[in-house]
C-alpha cells in the first residue's frame, strides 16, 4: 500500500458517499453566503474554497449537549419517598469531519489535553473524539486575519488531523497522519499519491510563505508587566462590545456552563458553551462579579490562550491562529495585534508611543 | 357638483298601479340632479308569498337583483317601494352576516352575490344623501293651501334592524322633506299605524276600520292631504275611502299623494306631468292656489305691510313660510 493517496476531483463526492456509509460526514456546506459544517447529503452545496464561518468544533464538542436526563420518581407505596432516575445517552455514531482546515483540527489537540489527557477524562468528549475521523484540507492561501504560523501552526500543519488533503489542479493529494487516517487510502476512489508528492509539497511551501507572522518570532514572550497592567487592557480593548462571537467561533475555546432545566418533575442537565467575554461567566451567586468590566474579560481571553494554558501545558498556546475572532469581530478587534503589543518587543514600541501622550 | 348616480329598482308596483310614483320620482330625481341607472334584466324582488314559505328562495329572488346591481357602476340602489326594499335589505343582511345562508342562497343563483350593495329607500336618498337644503333650493312654487300629514305605513322604517333608517315609532324624514318645500306639515300620531292593506281581500271590515282611524286622525289634526311613500298605502287609503265612507258612515274626501308628487308640484311640474289624474280622490282643489315662490313672497309682503306691522317685515323676508303660518293661526 502506498504511503500517500490521490483523490481526483470528480471522485470527491463518491469518496464522501463512501465515507458516509458508516459515519456521519460533516463537511463545509454553503448556505447563502455562509459556510457551515453540515452532515453531508446530496442536496447540499459543498464549499472548499474558504474556511467555514464556524469551525467544526461542535461536531466533537457540541454547543449544548444533554449530559443526562432526570426524572423524579415517587415510591408508589410511600409517596413521601422520592428517587431520581438518571438516563444518559452515550451512543455516538461514527463521524467524519471532512475538509476542515489544519488549524481547525489542531484546535482539538488543545481540547484533548483538557478533556482526555487527565485523570478524569470527560466521557462525552472522549467518545466523540475517538469516533471521529478528521480529514483536513491544507490552505492554499491565507484568509483575512489568519496567523497560524505565529502560533506554531501552518497552512499544512498536520497536528490534529487524521489525514490531510492538499488541493492540486485535478484532485487532492492525501497524506495520512494517524492510523485511522491511513485506512482511508484503502477506499477504491483513492489512487496512489506518490506521483503528486512533490507538487503537493511545493504548494504547501508556497502557502506557508504567504501567511504572515504578526509576532515576527516563533517564540512568543509575553511581557508580564504589560499583561498585568489594567491600563494596557483598558486602552487596547475599549472598543470591544463583549459579545461571544470570538469565543464561539474559536476552535480552541472550550469553556462551558452546566445548567439544569426542569418542568413538572422532569428535566435534563445541559452542558453548553460559555464565553469568558460574557458578564455572567464569572457572576457569583452573591451577585459579586470578579470580572465586571469588558477589559478584564478580554484580558482573561488572551491570558487563557497565551499565558495560563501555556503555563499549564508545557508552553502550548491555546490559539490556532485561524483568524475567525478577527474576521467576525463586530468591531474588528485584532487579537494578533494585541498579543504582539504584549510581547517584549511590542512593549518597547508601546512605551515610545505612550511617552508622546499627555 | 358631480351628478349622484344610483341604481334604480322600481319594482312591479311602479310599473303598474303606482306608475305615478315612478313618474313623479323620476322627475324629482332629475330636478335634484340624481341619475337613476336602470338595472338590466331585473326581476321580482321576492316580496311575494315566497317569503312566507321559503326564506332561502325569497332571498334568492332578491339576491339575483343584488347580484346584477353588484356588477353595475354604482353599488347603491334606491328603491321606492318599501316592500321591495325590505326584501332586498333582508336578503343582503342575511347573506352578509351568515356565511352558510349566503352559500345556500348563492347555490340557487347563476351569479353569486358577494354582499357589496347598499339599498336605500328613495325617501332615504332624498332625505339623507341630497339633504334638506338642496331640496329647498330647487323649490319654484308655493302651495299655500296644502296641510299635509305624512303617513309612513308599517314597513318603511321597520323592523329597525333591517330598515336602518329613521325612527321606527316616530319617523320624521317625510315630514322634514315636505316642510323643506315650504309646505305645512302637521303633527300626526298615526304615522306608522297599520292600515290593514295586506288583508284588503279576506278581512275587508277590519281594514275599513283601520283605514277609517287613519283617515279620521288626519282630518282631526286639520290635514287636507296625506303624503305617502308606499304604493300599497297609497292604494289602500285612496281607493278605499269610498268604501270606508259607505261602511262607516263617514264622508272622507282627502287626497292621498306620493310625497314625490308633492315635491313635483313644488318644483313646478304640472299635475299632468305628475299623473295626478290617476288619483281616486282628486287634489285639484288644493293645487289651485299654487303660485311661483317669488310672487307668493311679494304677496305676503304686501299683506304684511297692509297689516301695518313693519317690524315683522324683516322677519318675513327671512322666513316667509313661518310668518304665513303664524298669521293663519
Amino acid at each position: 500500500m502506498p504511503d500517500t493517496g490521490y483523490l481526483p476531483k470528480e471522485k470527491v463526492k463518491d469518496f464522501m458517499r463512501e465515507l458516509a456509509k458508516d459515519a456521519v460526514v460533516y463537511a463545509p456546506c454553503l448556505e447563502g453566503d455562509t459556510v457551515i459544517f453540515r452532515p453531508f447529503s446530496e442536496e447540499r452545496t459543498l464549499c472548499f474554497d474558504r474556511p467555514a464561518n464556524s469551525p467544526p468544533k461542535s461536531v466533537i464538542y457540541p454547543q449544548s449537549e444533554q449530559l443526562f436526563a432526570f426524572e423524579y420518581k415517587k415510591d408508589p407505596e410511600d409517596h413521601q419517598k422520592m428517587s431520581v432516575e438518571l438516563k444518559a445517552d452515550t451512543n455516538v455514531p461514527g463521524m467524519v469531519i471532512f475538509a476542515a482546515r489544519p488549524c481547525d483540527a489542531r484546535g482539538f489537540t488543545i481540547y484533548d489535553r483538557v478533556f482526555i489527557d487527565t485523570d478524569t477524562p470527560d466521557p462525552y468528549y472522549k467518545k466523540r473524539r475517538e469516533n471521529t475521523l478528521i480529514v483536513t484540507l491544507s490552505c492554499a492561501e491565507p484568509s483575512p486575519g489568519c496567523f497560524c504560523v505565529g502560533v506554531g501552526g501552518g497552512p499544512a500543519h498536520k497536528e490534529g488531523s487524521d489525514a490531510m488533503m492538499t488541493e492540486l489542479e485535478g484532485g487532492y493529494f492525501i497524506e495520512p497522519v494517524s492510523e485511522k487516517g491511513k485506512a482511508i487510502l484503502n477506499k477504491s476512489m483513492i489512487e496512489d499519491g506518490s506521483p503528486y508528492l512533490q507538487k503537493a509539497q511545493e504548494a504547501q511551501a508556497k502557502a506557508h510563505e504567504a501567511v504572515k507572522n504578526p509576532f515576527e518570532t516563533d517564540k512568543l514572550k509575553i511581557s508580564q508587566d504589560l499583561f498585568n497592567n489594567d491600563a494596557f487592557w483598558e486602552e487596547a480593548v475599549s472598543k470591544c462590545v463583549s459579545c461571544g462571537a470570538c469565543t464561539y467561533l474559536c476552535p480552541t475555546c472550550y469553556c462551558f456552563n452546566i445548567t439544569d432545566e426542569q418542568a413538572s418533575g422532569k428535566g435534563e442537565r445541559i452542558r453548553s458553551w460559555d464565553a469568558c467575554m460574557f458578564f455572567h461567566f464569572t457572576l457569583e451567586a452573591s451577585t459579586h462579579n470578579p470580572r465586571p468590566t469588558r477589559f478584564q474579560r478580554f484580558k482573561n481571553r488572551v491570558g487563557h490562550k497565551f499565558v495560563y494554558y501555556p503555563e499549564k501545558y508545557d508552553g502550548a498556546i491555546a490559539c490556532c491562529g485561524c483568524g475567525r475572532c478577527i474576521r467576525y469581530c463586530p468591531v474588528s478587534v485584532d487579537i494578533s495585534e494585541i498579543v504582539s503589543n504584549l510581547t517584549e518587543s511590542g512593549q518597547k514600541q508601546q512605551q515610545t508611543a505612550g511617552s508622546a501622550k499627555k | 357638483m358631480a351628478e349622484k348616480e344610483y341604481a334604480y329598482y322600481s319594482g312591479c308596483s311602479l310599473e303598474g298601479t303606482a306608475k305615478e310614483y315612478d313618474t313623479s320620482l323620476r322627475l324629482v330625481m332629475k330636478t335634484l340632479g340624481v341619475k337613476l341607472a336602470e338595472i338590466p334584466d331585473w326581476s321580482c324582488c321576492g316580496s311575494t308569498p315566497a317569503h312566507t314559505v321559503d326564506h332561502v328562495f325569497a332571498a334568492a329572488l332578491a339576491a339575483r337583483n343584488l347580484a346584477i346591481i353588484e356588477k353595475m357602476n354604482t353599488h347603491t340602489v334606491t328603491v321606492p317601494c318599501p316592500s321591495c326594499l325590505t326584501v332586498l335589505k333582508k336578503a343582503h343582511i342575511g347573506m352578509t352576516t351568515d356565511e352558510s345562508f349566503k352559500n345556500e342562497v348563492n347555490a340557487l343563483l347563476d351569479e353569486p352575490y358577494e354582499g357589496k350593495v347598499t339599498a336605500k329607500s328613495s325617501l332615504q336618498v332624498i332625505y339623507e344623501d341630497i339633504g334638506l337644503e338642496a331640496i329647498a333650493d330647487r323649490v319654484t312654487h308655493a302651495l299655500p293651501d296644502l296641510k299635509v300629514v305624512a303617513y309612513y305605513g308599517c314597513i318603511l322604517n321597520r323592523p329597525p334592524d333591517i330598515a336602518q333608517f329613521d325612527d321606527p315609532e316616530n319617523p320624521v324624514a317625510m315630514d322634514k322633506v315636505i316642510s323643506a318645500l315650504g309646505i305645512e306639515v302637521l303633527d300626526y300620531a298615526f304615522k306608522t299605524e297599520c292600515c290593514g292593506a295586506a288583508f284588503g281581500v279576506p278581512k275587508r271590515a277590519m281594514v275599513n276600520e283601520l283605514t277609517h282611524k287613519i283617515l279620521s286622525m288626519a282630518i282631526d289634526v286639520g290635514a287636507n292631504c296625506i303624503a305617502v311613500a308606499c304604493p300599497l298605502c297609497q292604494q289602500n287609503l285612496d281607493l278605499r275611502q269610498e268604501q270606508v265612507n259607505q261602511t262607516m258612515g263617514s264622508s272622507f274626501n282627502i287626497p292621498v299623494l306620493y310625497f314625490t308628487q308633492i315635491m313635483g308640484l313644488a318644483y313646478g311640474y304640472s299635475p299632468d306631468d305628475l299623473e295626478m289624474d290617476k288619483l281616486v280622490v282628486g287634489a285639484d282643489h288644493l293645487i289651485r292656489s299654487r303660485i311661483p315662490v317669488e310672487e307668493y313672497r311679494k304677496m305676503k309682503e304686501a299683506e304684511a305691510a297692509a297689516a301695518k306691522k313693519p317690524a315683522k317685515a324683516k322677519e318675513m323676508k327671512e322666513e316667509p313660510k313661518e310668518t304665513a303660518k303664524a298669521e293663519e293661526n
Partner: protein
C-alpha cells in the same frame, strides 16, 4: 420543599363533575408534593383544621388548595396557613370550581383539566417567596361623594363616629332625589319633612365639611392616604355673603331658565335658590340663561343684592382635601322621554315622567300641590300610569327592574285620588313588584281602597285625540287591546346610572357594570365594598334602590369606614414591585409606564442610577415588570419566574 395539596369536593359542586380522588392521587405522584388529600368542604372549620394539622404533622411548607375561585376564599386559606405558622403567600389556589367543574360537562376532561390546574398551582407555589406587609399611617378623614339620602346618612354616621367628613355634592343643594319627592311609600309621610332635619344635621355637624355645587376633579393615592382635588364650580354668588334672602331671584328678569330641581315641570329664574328647604340655602346664577352672560348686560341681581354677594367674574376653584377612605353615593339617573317615540318622545306635554309628577304633587312644587296638567293647567280626571317605561326592556338597553317604580306608582295613584276624589287612575303594569315590608299591602290599598285600575299589559302607543291622550295597550289578562282616554299620562321611566358614573368610576379605579352601576366586591357578602380598598358604595349608584335600602347602605358604608379607621396603622399589600438593583440598568422605562407614579430614580453610592419603588404607592399592577427589558423589577407574587412556571407546567408537559 414540601408541598401539601388539598382538593375540595365543595359538596357535589366540584366532586359532581371532577374525580377529586383521582386529582389527589395524581398530585401524590408529583415531585415536591408530599401530601395530597381531598375533603368535602375544605373551607369549613374542620377542613381548615385539617390543613393546619397536615402542615404541622407533615412539615408542609407550601400549600395548594384546589377549590373555588381565589376571589372567594384566598383570604380564608391565607389566614389558615398563617395560623399554622406559614407565610400567607405560601398559598396558591387552583380554581377547579368556577373554571372547571361548573363549566365543563365531561367528567374525564374536567378531571384532567383539574389535574393540570393543580399542577400549575404546584409549579407556581414552588416559586413563591414569603412576603411581609409593612404598615403605614392612616388619614382618618373620609370623603363622601354625593349628598343624597345615602350620602347624608353615611356622612352623619361617620361624623357621629368621630371622623372628619368631607361631603361633596354636585348640585347646589344636598338632598338628592328624595328632596324632590312628595310623599314616601308605604307610609305616605312627607318626604322633605323627614329629610329636612337630616339635611340640617349635615350642615350643622361640626365634623362635616360640605362642598355643595362641587365636583371631584382628581383622586390620587391609596387606601389610608388619598389626595382629592375638588372643583368648586362658579356660582357667581359669594356664598360667604349670600343670606339666601331670595331678593335676587324675585327681581331677576329672566323667567324661562330651565328648572333642574323641578325636572323642567316649571321654569325658574336665571339666579335661583333651587327650593325653599335647600341646604345650603344660597343663590347661584345659571349662566346659560343669565342676561349678564348671554347678552352682556343686565346686572339686576348685583344691584338688588343687599350684601353685594354677586360676582359675575367668579371662576371655578380647585381645593385639595386629603382623606383616608371614600364613600361613593352618587345616586342614579332617569330615562328621558325622548327614549319613547311611541309615547310621543316628549312632544305631548301631558305625557310626563314619574319624578315630574312627584313635583306636581308636591306642596312646595310649581303648582303648590294642586294637580294641574301641564298643557292647560286643568285638573286631570283620568290619569294613566305606565310602569316599566324602559325598564326590563332589552331593546332599550335596560334589561333590569328599576326596583321602586311599582311602589311609587301605587303611591301616586293613591295621592291622585286624595287630591282629586273624582279621578280615576289606571296602571299598566308587567308585574307588581312589592317585596318590601308593608309594600304589597300598599299596592293592594291603591287598588282596593283607592280604586286604581291595574291593567296587566304594556302600552303600545300614546297619541293625542282632542284634549285627551289616548293610551293604547294590551290587557293580557283579558287578551284584548285596550284604549284609555287619559287627561294625564305618567311614565315610570327607567332608573339608569347617574350621568358621568363611568367617568367617576375611572377616577376611583372601581369597576362598573354594562349599565354604569358600580360593582360591589361580592354581591352577597361584600355589598358595600369595592375591589379598590378604601372605596365603599352607598345607595343607588350600585343599582336601583329605594330609600330604606339606600339609608341602610349609607350606614353600612359608614360602619366599614369606621372599622377600617379603628386602627392607626394599615397593613400594605406586599404583592408589589421590587427592584433587583444588581440587574437594573437604570433605563427607567418603568418610571414612564407606572400608572401610579410609584417608581422613582435613585442614585446608588457608586453613582449608578436605578429604579426605586415607593412601597405605599405601588398598587401591584405589574406594568413595570412587563416594561422592564431585563427583568430587574419584579411584581412580587406574580414574578416572571412564577408565571413562567405556570406556562411551563401547561406547555412542557
Amino acid at each position: 420543599m414540601r408541598v401539601g395539596v388539598f382538593i375540595c369536593h365543595c359538596g357535589n359542586n366540584i366532586a359532581g363533575t371532577v374525580d377529586v380522588a383521582r386529582v389527589a392521587a395524581e398530585m401524590r405522584k408529583l415531585p415536591g408534593v408530599v401530601y395530597a388529600t381531598n375533603y368535602m368542604y375544605t373551607c369549613s372549620e374542620p377542613g381548615q383544621e385539617e390543613i393546619k394539622q397536615a402542615i404541622r404533622k407533615e412539615g408542609l411548607d407550601r400549600i395548594v388548595v384546589a377549590a373555588c375561585s381565589p376571589r372567594m376564599h384566598e383570604n380564608t386559606f391565607r389566614k389558615t396557613i398563617e395560623k399554622a405558622g406559614l407565610n400567607r403567600y405560601f398559598l396558591e389556589m387552583a380554581n377547579i370550581r368556577e373554571h372547571i367543574s361548573w363549566i365543563g360537562e365531561d367528567k374525564e376532561l374536567n378531571t384532567n383539566k383539574a389535574i393540570e390546574a393543580v399542577k400549575m398551582a404546584v409549579a407556581k407555589v414552588m416559586n413563591n417567596k414569603p412576603l411581609y406587609s409593612s404598615s403605614f399611617k392612616v388619614n382618618k378623614r373620609v370623603l363622601v361623594i354625593g349628598g343624597g339620602v345615602a350620602g347624608m346618612q353615611a356622612a352623619l354616621d361617620c361624623a357621629d363616629g368621630g371622623l372628619d367628613v368631607v361631603l361633596v355634592e354636585k348640585s347646589p343643594s344636598i338632598g338628592g332625589m328624595m328632596s324632590r319627592l312628595d310623599k314616601t311609600f308605604p307610609t305616605i309621610d312627607c318626604s322633605i319633612c323627614i329629610l329636612g332635619p337630616k339635611m340640617v344635621d349635615v350642615v350643622q355637624h361640626e365634623k362635616i365639611k360640605l362642598y355643595a355645587y362641587s365636583e371631584i376633579d382628581e383622586i390620587k393615592g391609596y387606601v389610608g392616604n388619598y389626595q382629592i382635588k375638588i372643583r368648586k364650580k362658579a356660582t357667581y354668588v359669594d356664598w360667604s355673603k349670600c343670606t339666601g334672602c331670595g331678593a335676587c331671584m324675585e327681581k331677576c328678569p329672566t323667567r324661562n331658565a330651565y328648572d333642574h330641581f323641578n325636572f323642567g315641570v316649571a321654569t325658574t329664574r336665571a339666579i335661583n335658590i333651587p327650593f325653599p328647604q335647600a341646604i345650603p340655602k344660597k343663590a347661584k346664577i345659571d349662566p346659560e340663561f343669565c342676561r349678564q352672560f348671554t347678552k352682556g348686560k343686565c346686572g339686576v341681581c348685583a344691584k338688588i343684592c343687599p350684601t353685594g354677594a354677586i360676582n359675575y367674574e367668579m371662576k371655578d376653584e380647585i381645593v385639595a382635601e386629603d382623606v383616608g377612605a371614600i364613600i361613593v353615593a352618587t345616586g342614579y339617573g332617569l330615562f328621558d322621554l325622548d327614549k319613547f317615540p311611541e309615547y310621543g318622545a316628549g312632544r305631548y306635554p301631558d305625557v310626563i315622567t314619574g319624578i315630574q309628577y312627584e313635583r306636581i304633587l308636591n306642596a312646595s312644587g310649581p303648582t303648590s300641590g294642586h294637580i294641574l296638567r301641564p298643557s292647560d293647567q286643568t285638573e286631570p280626571k283620568t290619569v294613566v300610569f305606565v310602569s316599566c317605561a324602559g325598564s326590563r326592556d332589552k331593546s332599550l338597553g335596560v334589561p333590569y327592574c328599576s326596583n321602586f317604580c311599582c311602589m311609587y306608582i301605587a303611591k301616586q295613584a293613591i295621592l291622585t285620588k286624595d287630591h282629586i276624589p273624582d279621578s280615576q287612575s289606571y296602571v299598566f303594569y308587567m308585574d307588581i313588584r312589592s317585596n318590601g315590608k308593608g309594600y304589597d299591602e300598599f299596592t293592594r290599598r291603591a287598588q282596593e281602597e283607592y280604586g286604581a285600575k291595574y291593567i296587566r299589559g304594556r302600552v303600545a302607543k300614546i297619541y293625542p285625540k282632542g284634549k285627551k291622550m289616548v293610551v293604547r295597550g294590551a290587557d293580557t289578562l283579558l287578551g284584548t287591546q285596550v284604549e284609555v282616554e287619559a287627561d294625564l299620562v305618567v311614565l315610570a321611566t327607567a332608573v339608569i346610572s347617574a350621568p358621568g358614573a363611568a367617568g367617576m368610576a375611572e377616577k376611583l379605579h372601581i369597576s362598573y357594570d354594562t349599565f354604569g352601576f358600580y360593582v360591589e366586591s361580592h354581591p352577597k357578602l361584600r355589598p358595600v365594598e369595592t375591589n379598590t380598598s378604601g372605596v365603599y358604595l352607598a345607595g343607588a349608584c350600585q343599582g336601583p334602590k329605594d330609600i330604606p335600602a339606600s339609608v341602610g347602605q349609607g350606614s353600612a358604608a359608614a360602619s366599614k369606614v369606621l372599622s377600617l379607621f379603628s386602627k392607626d396603622m394599615l397593613e400594605s399589600d406586599p404583592a408589589i414591585a421590587q427592584v433587583n438593583i444588581n440587574a437594573c440598568v437604570g433605563c427607567l422605562k418603568c418610571v414612564k409606564t407606572c400608572p401610579f407614579q410609584a417608581i422613582k430614580e435613585e442614585v446608588l453610592r457608586n453613582g449608578r442610577k436605578v429604579a426605586k419603588v415607593i412601597e405605599t404607592v405601588c398598587a401591584g399592577c405589574g406594568v413595570c415588570t412587563s416594561t422592564c427589558p431585563c427583568g430587574a423589577i419584579q411584581l412580587q407574587h406574580f414574578t416572571d419566574n412564577q408565571l413562567l412556571a405556570e406556562v411551563n407546567a401547561i406547555c412542557q408537559s
